[in-house]
Structures are given as structure tokens and as C-alpha cells.
Amino acid sequence: MSVSSILWLQSPITVETDPPEIFSDLNLDAIVEEIVVGRDEYTLRPFFYTSLTTPEEVGNRQDVMRDLHQPAIAAMMHLFAEGMQTVRQYQAHAEKVYYQRQKQAWFLDAVASYVETVGALDEALTLENIKSEGLIRFRESLRTYVGSAGFEGMRDETAAIKADLVRIRYGLTIDGSVISVGKEFDPEDFSQDFEVLLTRFQRTDVQRQLRVQDSEALEMNHIEAKILEQVVKLYPEPFERLETFCQQHVSFFDPALREFDRELQFYLTYQDYMAFFEHHGLRFCYPRVSALDKTELSRDSYDAALAHKVVSAHGTVVVNDFELRGDERILVVTGPNQGGKTTFARWFGQLHFLAKLGLPVPGGAAQLFLCDKIFTHFEREEDMSEGSGKLQDALLRMHAILSDASADSVIIMNEIFGSTTLQDAVFLTTKVLDQVTQLDAIAVLVTFIDELGSRNQKTVSLVASVNPNQYAQRTYKIVRGPAQGIAYALSLAESYGLTYSRIKERLQP
């Protein structure tokens, strides 16, 4: 079977094996680790390290993702992935166990899961309204494979052998060290009788539930193996058929399906990631991307890494907007400490990177420029050098960024010259700002220097705002314009919903 990629337009492609440099500054490493958690078997990280360059490639992935977002299709793909996991698990069991008959039984189960999973996907896909080219091509090749004589034969034989094995029932008597194995037995269940007798003491407040466990061990011990040999003597035919089957179907797993299974995870795992947020009332959207238009917009968006933490701790996530209109290119962010400025810078970078992966981004709506590269300049905590050494290092990094960046780049600068005097910082930051302006790149500049927001027509001044009704409480909202803060007892009461009208509302019958 041959299947084209659902990730790439031209394959084969070389994927990145190491994370891009910007990952830790933007907390993208935390995001990707959260996305791929529990899916090590698929080796998905390279997919998230390798970004796309053209709007067509982005469109291709968005189309596939839209298809996979239809609940029915998402459900069948999850079933498919789970089924494939089961197949691999049973194959591993067959490798691991010692007794030959056990190996054969696990192999049979692996094939049974395989034919069932593949068959079910084929059947389900024909019923669905698929629009993306990637999935349409996959559906066609799957149809051919499942209709082939080889696949059908394997499916029928598997079912027949399994049915015979399931029917086997045997009796055991134990007297001292003698075990007898036979076919017939007295059907009454003694344990059940006794349980019925004691039901009148059944209570709901007893927490401890003892589970009846069938042995958890995969392996048989030699006594079980001996008993099994007696069972084989009682019912020989199905075991003979099983042996032949195993010899005939050693390479049953189609490599093309294996790769599809892996690429599919790129989408499914991201869907799970989105679902976590959506479950808590936070939205994702498909960004409109353009390689030409540098006006941008994002509504009700958030830093996914931070939001994940906050939501997990049952906190409330603050959503933010931004917009670049006309000639505007540079967002200059000022405001109080801990007001959400750095978060804003990270979030801005995350949006652009996720869009470049062809994925939906946090927020209610987004229009983003498809940049060629993202650069970040954050203060390095690990840098031990002080004073002039540190400043020099910061300037060197800034210089490298400005020489590599183009008009199509995104540059994110966070408190770049915090290690020097105010005078120096004003001078250096202004210089950098002017160069970025000249370059016409899109940029974010987080700074404590107030006057830079109105430097030129490309800069926009944003402020981390303070709640006007509360004692200097931070809102984590980043808005255009100045902040204000004033507090009274009543407005404090208002903030707790304790005014006359608010209480009346809350206590409405």
C-alpha cells in the first residue's frame, strides 16, 4: 500500500531534530512537552520543531485539521490510533513470553486487532464528508488495501481461530497436589450463592472495594503451562490451525499505515491539547495567514504555557487582544512589574510560531503575518557576568539578530538592557528601535522606558493596566493607553459583589 503524507506537500522532507533557539524564551518548550506528553512512541517532537514556509503548506494542514475536527472523524481516528497501539502492545507480548503456545496466542491477538482496526477505519471513512486533499488521497489507498484478497483472507482466518478458542471451557479439581482437567462440570456457582445471602448487609458507605483479579502476570508458570497442555489434548484442532496461521503471516503490518499512524498523532495530540483549554472556556481559532499583509490582529488570546498552569491550578486566565493597523509594526509595552508584560511578549511569539506550524492558535480570532523567522532577545538568567560584560553580551546578541533579520521577520525584545543605567538604556534602546523601524520588521519591545511608545508612526504604545476599582490590583490586561488607579471601600465591596444590587442579583430565587 502506498500513501502520501498528511503533513507535507512535498515529501520526503528533512525535519529538525533539535528545538529552535527561541523555544525556551517563548516557553514553547513547555507547550510542546505538554502536547507530546505520553506519546513518546511516536517521536513527534521533530514535527513541532520544523515550521512551514508558504501559505499553501499552512493551508494544507489547516484543511486536514478541520476535517479531523469533525467529531465523527476525530472519534474514528482516535479509535484507529488506540487500535494500532493495541497491535503493538500484543506484538510486544508475543516477543516477551516464553511458552510457544502463548507466543502464538498473542500474535493472533495482534493480527486480530490490526484487521479490526484497519477495517473499521476504512468502513467509517467512506461514510464521512472529507474535504482535505490529504485525507481524500489516504481514503482511496486504504480502500484498495482493505479490498485486497490478502487482507480479507487474513481477516477471516483470524476470526475463525479466535472463535474456536473462546468456546473452550474446562473443569479443574484440586485435591492435595493432584490437579485433574476435564471437559464437563457442575454448573452451580457457589460464590454467587453466598454473596446473595449476605446482600442484606450491603452498605454504600464502605469505601474499600476488593477487586477480583485474574492473574496480572503475562507469563504462565509451569503449572499453568502443564494444565494448558492437558486442555490442548482435550481440544486439539484449534491449536493446530493457530500454529499454521502464525507461520503464514509474519509480516502483516503495512509500513505505510505505520507512518500514517504517526503523522496522524501530530494532529490528534494537538486536538487534545486544545480540548483541555476549550473545556475551561478558552478558545482556539484558525489564523488567517498572509506572506504579504503585515496588518495583524488577535482577539481573546493568551499564553498557552501559562494558561495551562493557571487552569490546572483552578485559576482564571486573562485573555488579551492586539492589533497592528496600517503602518504599525512595533508594539512597545510598558507598565508595572508583574503586570503581564513578559507574558505578552511570549504569547505574541507563540502565536506566530504555532501559525507557522499550520496549527490553530489560542484565541477567538487571529490574522497573522507568515514571517520567515522569529527572533527573541530575553535577558539571560544563566549569564553570570555583571555590568559591562553583561551589557556587552546583550548588545552582541542584539547585533546578531539585526544582521540576520529581514523585513519579513518577527523580533521579540524583552527588557533588553536592564543591566545598565537609565541613560544608557534609553540611548541603546532608542537606537535598536530605530533600526527595527528601518528594517520594517514586526516587533514587540517590552521596556520600562515610557517615552518609546510614541517614537514614530510604526510604534504603538501598550500598557499593562491596573484595576481602577481595586487597590493597585493588576488585571494582566495589556491595552492601548494610560492606566489609572483609585480605591474606595464601596468599590472594593463592589469587586466582591457586595453592593445592594449585586447581592440582590445573586440571591434571586
Binding site: K183, E184, L198
Partner: protein, 506 residues
């Protein structure tokens, strides 16, 4: 089989979570003193009384149900103590049986569970017989129904049947199982079958229709083989062993429930004995529905204060018929807080089914009781105090329903008088209009006067009594707020005489 001595139709849930607000109420009302007095030297009694009081009941039928049971037990104190002791003894069997350290092995589980079960059934029989002997003296529906349930669920023929089954589990004739092939061809779905009667050869009986059998014999020296055989038996016996252990657990849970529910009544009994020693009265309250506004009390006192001082304390008569809001003003340390506490404690005692600390008491049921007490000791941290007060108040409003009761004590005094009064006014007004009852002890003069001036029929203004010579009686009497009273007495105490009598105070 259920205990059902606190509710007619269900058992009390001892695991239910008490809200933070409720714990706050207990702390503000100083209820730990009451719980300690109820416990004697058995901490379980304190727990039982605490839980029942803090959970409370808003249903007059339930409250009466408990009052009746408590009256029976107060008349028959030794019967209660004996039943309580039986429950404890039964629970101690568990420790003796090492049931807590059950292994995974079904066979050894059975060896421990079977004797324990035998013992527990003996205690069940004992409880049944003891109740049977006294049921005629009981008037309450709660205890009469309890006796009936014991007779129905523990009839002799049933007890015999249980004994027979326990005997059969000795497996004197070997064990008989059946099984299927599961994943990896390992045996699964083991079912245990009844062994044949003594004297019959089981093999013939069991495989009677198809004599083809194959035998596996485990050599004496094959140690791992014998371990494997043990595991096989454990699989076959797992279900019956689990059933036995579960049954034991369930019967023990019954005794635990019995101990706790009886514990509440025994705790009440101990509390009433303690109060009797210091000549404080108790009375069973009569109930009015939640939507009425009635409180008619005589000799109402703060039971926790009395227990703490170990003597009789100040009593108040209080009539608040038709009043939704009671404003209490007056001198510092004049008995206002004590009065407020006595109201809250009486409400909780009444709604737990207990007697109340008064000579007579008639009052309406509340859906919920909340306390909002100013924290004077926090005043050093001025900046966050109002914030903290408001946060607590918001939490109370969140939990409120129609016909709740909120007791405010010096609330919103952490900002200036004008602002504090306005905050308090808005909150109080909204609560009253939402059918909440409020008792508000306050120094906020603007706030108190607004209500006095409104002359609304549902407002009652009370004042801590101070005689003309400045001496406080700690009694709470009808009276309008005095605008200059607060702080003066304390000032005088600390700074000496003012020099002239304050004209407004008289």
C-alpha cells in the same frame, strides 16, 4: 441493614464535608467548649455531636424525630450506655482478627474472615436481643422502628443459613473450579463450585458426563509448583474470599454507624448532665416554619460561656416576633457578643434535634446559619483587613439561601464610620429583601440610626443595658442606639474618669 436513628429513612453521612463557613460558625460561637462537654472522656462523642450540629436539619419532622429518640434515651440512660458499649465491643473484634492486614492471598483472607464473621453475627444477635428486651419502654418512632428492623433482618432461620455456608467453606472434600482460556491462553473467569457431600468421590461426580480427564501431579520437591498451585487456588477462591471480607467490612460499618448515631444521643445526655450540675436549665424547643419570623425565648444563655465559667451566667428574654432584622448596640463588654452567640448556638442546637440552652424556647427554623465576626486582633494589618472582611462576607452570600440567618458582630468597622455604615447598610438591606434574617451587633452609628429612624415594623433595636451609674448589667434590652456610647467606657477605664458625666449617655 440500616441504623436510621437520626433520620427515619436514611443514615447520617459522617463523611460529608463541612463547609469552611460552617467551621467558621463553630469557631465564632466557641462550640468546641460544648463538644468537649458532650464527650466526657470519649472523643467519638464529641465528633458525633459536632457533625450532627454542624450539618443540622431544616426539616421540622426530622428534628422532632430526633427529639423523641433523645427523650426516650434521657428516660432510659442505662439502656443507651449498654447498646453503645456493645457497638464498641463488636468493632474491637476487627482489631483482633487482623483484618486490617489482609494479604492478597484469597486462602489466607478466608482464614481470617470466617472466624471474624462468626463473631460479628453473634454481636448482631446480641444487639437484637437487647433491643427486644427494652422495646416496650420506648415511645419514639425512631427506636420502635429500629427494633422492628432488627427482628426482620436477623431472624433465626437466616442466621442458621449463614452458619451453614461458613461451615461449607472449610472444603473438606477438595476444591472444584471451572475456567476459560483468556488472553495469552491463561486461565480466566474461574468459578468455584460446591464440593460434593462427604463420602462421594468428587471426581466421578464432577466429570460425570465426560469421563476423559488428564491429571497433573505436583512433585513434593517442586516448590515453585506448589506456589503456582497456591496462586491457582487464590484465583478460584478470589470471589468468595472477597465476598467474605466485604461482608465483614459491611457489618463492621453497620456497627460503626450504630456507634456514631448512638454517640450523638449519648453526647447530648452527657451535656445535659453537665448543665444540670451547674443548675443551668435546658428545654426542648418548639418549632415554627422557616418562612415565619418568630423567636420567643426566656432564660436564653450562652451555654459555652456557662460551661467555661462552670457556673450560671446572664440570661436574656427575647421576643422577636415578626422581626427580620435585630440591631444590637451599646457599651463595649456589655454582653452583646454573648447575646449574639446564645442566639446562634440555640439555633444550631435546635436544628440538630437537641434541647436548647434556655428556660423556654419557640423559634423558626433557618435554612442556614452564618456568622460574620469582626477580627479585632487583626487590626495591626490595617491594609488588608476590610478586604479580608469582604471576602468572608462574599463567601457567606454565596452560600446563602432564602430563610437563612446571618449573625454580624462588629462587621465593617475596619474602614471609616461613613463608608463602613454604607457598606453594611447595602448588604443588610439586600439580605432582608432576599428573605434572610439578620442580627447585627454594631458600633456603626450611622448604620444603626438609619434603621432606628426607618421605623420599619420588621426592625428591632436592642441595646446592652447600662444603668445610670455606668454599671453594665450584661442584659440586652429594647432600646435605640446611642451615638456616643462606644469607646467611652473603655476610655474611662484606661484613662481614668472623664471629669463630668456624658450628657448623651443618660
Amino acid at each position: 441493614m440500616n441504623v436510621c436513628l437520626l433520620y427515619s429513612d436514611r443514615e447520617f453521612d459522617w463523611e460529608q464535608k463541612i463547609s469552611a463557613d460552617r467551621h467558621q460558625v463553630a469557631q465564632d460561637l466557641n462550640l468546641d467548649v460544648l463538644f468537649a462537654a458532650a464527650s466526657g472522656d470519649d472523643a467519638v462523642l464529641a465528633t458525633a455531636v459536632e457533625k450532627v450540629m454542624l450539618v443540622g436539619s431544616g426539616d421540622p419532622a426530622e428534628i422532632q424525630f430526633r427529639q423523641e429518640v433523645l427523650k426516650d434515651f434521657m428516660a432510659q440512660a442505662p439502656v443507651l450506655s449498654e447498646l453503645y458499649a456493645m457497638a464498641i465491643e463488636a468493632l474491637e473484634q476487627r482489631r483482633r482478627a487482623h483484618l486490617g492486614i489482609f494479604t492478597r492471598h484469597a486462602e489466607s483472607m478466608m482464614h481470617e474472615a470466617i472466624p471474624l464473621l462468626r463473631m460479628l453475627f453473634e454481636y448482631l444477635e446480641k444487639v437484637r436481643d437487647w433491643v427486644r428486651a427494652h422495646v416496650e419502654d420506648f415511645r419514639s418512632p425512631g427506636l420502635q422502628m429500629f427494633g422492628q428492623r432488627l427482628e426482620q433482618e436477623l431472624d433465626d432461620s437466616y442466621l442458621n443459613q449463614v452458619r451453614d455456608h461458613l461451615e461449607a467453606l472449610a472444603f473438606r472434600q477438595g476444591m472444584v473450579f471451572s475456567a476459560q482460556l483468556g488472553p495469552g491462553l491463561k486461565g480466566q473467569h474461574y468459578v468455584l463450585h460446591q464440593s460434593p457431600p462427604a463420602g462421594h468421590h468428587w471426581n466421578l461426580n464432577f466429570f460425570r458426563k465426560s469421563p476423559e480427564t488428564y491429571t497433573v501431579v505436583i512433585a513434593d520437591r517442586d516448590e515453585s509448583g506448589h506456589t503456582a498451585l497456591g496462586e491457582l487456588k487464590d484465583l478460584g477462591l478470589a470471589r468468595v474470599a472477597r465476598g467474605l471480607v466485604q461482608a465483614a467490612e459491611h457489618i463492621l460499618a453497620f456497627f460503626k454507624q450504630l456507634r456514631m448515631e448512638l454517640g450523638f444521643y449519648l453526647g447530648c445526655l452527657k451535656l445535659s448532665q453537665r448543665l444540670q450540675e451547674i443548675q443551668e436549665p435546658v428545654t426542648f424547643p418548639t418549632l415554627a416554619p422557616a418562612n415565619e419570623r418568630v423567636r420567643e425565648a426566656s432564660g436564653l444563655y450562652d451555654v459555652c460561656l456557662a460551661l467555661q465559667l462552670n457556673r450560671r451566667v446572664v440570661e436574656n428574654d427575647w421576643n422577636a416576633e415578626g422581626k427580620s432584622l435585630t440591631i444590637v448596640t451599646g457599651a463595649n463588654q456589655g454582653g452583646k457578643s454573648t447575646f449574639l452567640r446564645s442566639i446562634g448556638i440555640a439555633q444550631l442546637m435546635m436544628q440538630s434535634g437537641m434541647f436548647v440552652a434556655a428556660t423556654t424556647y419557640h423559634g423558626n427554623i433557618c435554612s442556614e446559619v452564618f456568622t460574620h465576626f469582626g477580627r479585632r486582633e487583626d487590626q495591626t494589618m490595617e491594609s488588608g483587613k476590610l478586604d479580608e472582611e469582604l471576602r468572608r462576607c462574599a463567601s457567606i452570600v454565596d452560600g446563602l439561601q432564602k430563610n437563612g440567618l446571618v449573625l454580624f458582630n462588629e462587621s465593617f468597622a475596619s474602614t471609616n464610620e461613613r463608608e463602613g455604615s454604607e457598606v453594611a447598610r447595602q448588604i443588610t438591606q439586600a439580605l432582608i429583601e432576599s428573605h434572610i434574617q439578620v442580627v447585627f451587633v454594631t458600633h456603626l452609628v450611622t448604620f444603626a440610626n438609619q434603621w432606628q429612624d426607618s421605623a420599619a415594623p420588621w426592625v428591632q433595636c436592642l441595646r446592652a443595658e447600662r444603668r445610670d451609674d455606668g454599671v453594665r448589667t450584661f442584659k440586652i434590652v429594647e432600646g435605640a442606639p446611642l451615638s456616643t456610647s462606644f469607646g467611652r467606657d473603655v476610655y474611662r477605664k484606661i484613662f481614668g474618669e472623664l471629669g463630668e458625666e456624658d450628657p448623651e449617655a443618660s
